[in-house]
């Protein structure tokens, strides 16, 4: 009875919320349902025939989850996922309710793919009882919310203790992530490409061995603290991955790579730039290959992949284009800056810095990001958001010509004015923080330029 009531009440709230379009309605029903029946997630997710997968980590959760869902859908699974970007457990509850019958006895789906915030892992693993957990990477992200990076690593590692039969799939190249493989059923993925070399010391978030504290020695560094490393003190070293990406070729528009998944080999190309997306592809391929999906289906889905909103999705407006690149931490920001400045053309750029809870209320991270990369690579720069002045100040100290920088506070106006100034045929590069991205999205949705929250991403 309790489950029935929980599902019923929450179902009602789904339709009411959608009707009035309050915030997309992606977490509220779940919140309500969990209040009425705290076991709702466990009860509903246990009805998924093939169980559930959890994806966690700082960067790449959304893109990787979407890739996994696409591959599984193509492979014939009925996927239930918390796609609308609500990766607290409430979002999980909402997505389950959304697919469940009114009585909560049946569920329209057979596998769960859930992206989970690092801080919620303990609770989520207990409730969902996943068959596999994928950890993408750990970088500084909204430290104000989670405390410190080492503590985040511990929260994730501790959550594994509630998952003794679970397959743990880890990024071997990130020492913080790889060190979680001790005493669990772990498999690894990583890059194997001697041409990828980090050029900057910035955003080295974790240089020390998590097990003994000594400074790690890097034989090769891909970016940030990712690479091939070992500890000279305790012997901890990058585990040799069975899933690898190699022959990687990067360009501002697309990425090619070859993958070896145990004994299977495939070549894939995606219409997304940046090394980050190589990791996203490799992670998604490793997990779905472990689930037994055919390599042909994996490569076809990856080749046809369309990014989620704000994750390098290209939007065409009349004769102009707009590329929206969500930024939320120094490492991610640096990757974005690197990929848009990798050729010599001068780009028109809009940067939107908000400091709401979902963005991280502390804006100091922009001082750890290499805005210097924009020097001589940009035409006009439009700066907006609640902390627009902080971003403009960062650009001043990065040595940019401030006569090309314009501060406009409101997110919508920034987009309006920067598109106005953009010549036909060119692309506007928009770098918003999370809540600024949502504002742009709502604006574009209301103009019919992108599909709404609920129409699949």
């Amino acid at each position: 009875m309790r489950k029935f009531l929980a599902v019923l009440k929450a179902k009602t709230s789904v339709s009411i919320i959608r009707l009035f379009k309050v915030g997309g309605g992606s977490t509220f029903p779940g919140l309500l349902a969990e209040k009425i029946d705290p076991q709702i997630i466990t009860k509903l997710s246990s009805k998924l025939k093939y169980g559930s997968i959890i994806i966690t980590g700082t960067n790449g959760k959304t893109t990787t989850s979407k890739m996994i869902s696409d591959i599984l859908t193509k492979a014939g699974y009925e996927v239930v996922s918390n796609r609308a970007g609500s990766n607290m457990t409430r979002g999980v509850a909402s997505s389950l309710i959304e697919k469940s019958s009114w009585m909560g006895t049946k569920i329209d789906g057979d596998i769960g793919v859930f992206e989970i915030d690092e801080a919620t892992m303990a609770y989520a693993v207990k409730k969902i009882k996943p068959k596999a957990i994928l950890v993408t990477n750990l970088f500084r992200d909204q430290l104000d919310r989670y405390g410190e990076l080492d503590k985040t690593a511990k929260i994730i590692k501790d959550s594994f203790s509630d998952a003794n039969k679970t397959q743990i799939i880890l990024n071997a190249d990130d020492p913080l992530v790889a060190s979680m493989g001790q005493d669990v059923n772990a498999s690894y993925y990583g890059l194997d490409d001697s041409n990828i070399v980090a050029t900057s010391e910035a955003a080295m978030d974790s240089k020390d061995c998590l097990r003994c504290g000594a400074e790690l020695v890097f034989k090769q560094r891909y970016f940030g603290h990712s690479g091939i490393y070992s500890c000279p003190n305790c012997g901890f070293a990058r585990p040799k991955p069975k899933n690898i990406a190699f022959n990687i070729s990067l360009s501002p528009e697309a990425t090619f790579m070859q993958l070896r998944l145990h004994s299977d080999a495939i070549g894939v190309s995606i219409n997304l730039p940046g090394l980050f997306n190589v990791y996203n592809v490799l992670a998604a391929a490793s997990l779905t290959h472990w689930l037994g999906v055919d390599k042909k289906i994996i490569s076809e889905s990856i080749n046809a992949f369309q990014a989620a909103f704000g994750r390098m999705e290209k939007i065409t407006i009349g004769k102009k284009h707009m590329l929206i690149l969500l930024v939320k931490n120094p490492t991610g920001f640096n990757q974005v800056l690197r990929s848009i400045t990798s050729d010599d053309t001068k780009k028109t750029v809009a940067i939107l810095l908000n400091d709401n809870f979902a963005d991280g209320t502390d804006v100091s991270w922009i001082w750890d990001s290499e805005l210097e990369l924009l020097k001589n690579r940009t035409g006009r720069i439009f700066v907006g958001g609640i902390r627009a002045q902080d971003m403009a100040l960062r650009l001043k100290y990065a040595g940019l010509n401030m006569s090309f920088v314009k501060i406009i506070k409101e997110e919508e106006k920034v987009i309006d004015e920067s598109l106005d100034s953009l010549p036909d045929g060119q692309t506007l590069y928009v770098m918003p923080t999370y809540t600024a991205m949502l504002k742009i999205r709502n604006m574009l949705t209301s103009q019919g330029l992108v599909k709404g929250f609920w129409e699949g991403q």
Binding site: L143, D144, R145, G147, E148, L149, D150, M204, K207, D208, G213, D355, T361, D362, V363, S364, W365, I366, W367, D368, I386, R387, A388, Q389, D390, A392, L393, R394, K396, Y397, M402
Partner: protein
Amino acid sequence: MKLTIFHLYPEAMNLYGDLGNILTLVKRCQWRGIDVEVSNIKVGDKADFNQADLIFLGGGQDRGQSIIAPDLLRKGSQIKEAVDNGAVSLTICGGYQLFGKYFRTAEGTEIKGIEVFDAYTVAGNRRLIGNVIVEAGNWASGQNQEKLVGFENHSGKTILLNDLSPLGTVVKGFGNDGEGKTEGAVYKNAFGTYLHGSLLPKNPWFADYLILKGLKRKHLEIEGLDELDDTLEMDANVAAQKRAMTAKTTYI
């Protein structure tokens, strides 16, 4: 004329935009045609602190703090001597804590500090997080600005002993011990604070104050610095103050 900055442990202690502080000191010297040199001091490096006009130490995670603490202790007496002879220092968050007597962690272990400040820090049971506004103390009289704005995120509570002066009084925020009264500490030209954000870009008058004091170490004749256009800096300062007054301060 040259300003020599010693940046202590830039790798282990670089939380929350500490590089922004160094960048601000460097740029504001360069814009005025003042030479500036930044020496990065790592664990194990020999360093002659008599050469330092300005010593900077940022914040770190607990692990970073315990890694550098023994090395800092070895350099402690030299640093204290330099401070007593007029060297300027700016220490932030974890760095500020280690410039006190000790930091007692939640597990009860004491990490010894170098006692530039007559203060100690104990781990608290909540994190103090949010935008902060501080009214600078007496040391700032005569400056045309007196407010500092930044962001705090610490669980340690710092207790000032005897007659050690705070950096200032809290207008908005938690401050040293979470009581919302005092923030930071000042001893001679040594300044400790929990404010990052980064601190110096948005508080250009304080950056200039440190630069001038630092230059005076070797060039007593200097009376002031050339003026710079700080419109953007002060716009950011005002925006941050507004945010501090409206946003809810939270702790987790």
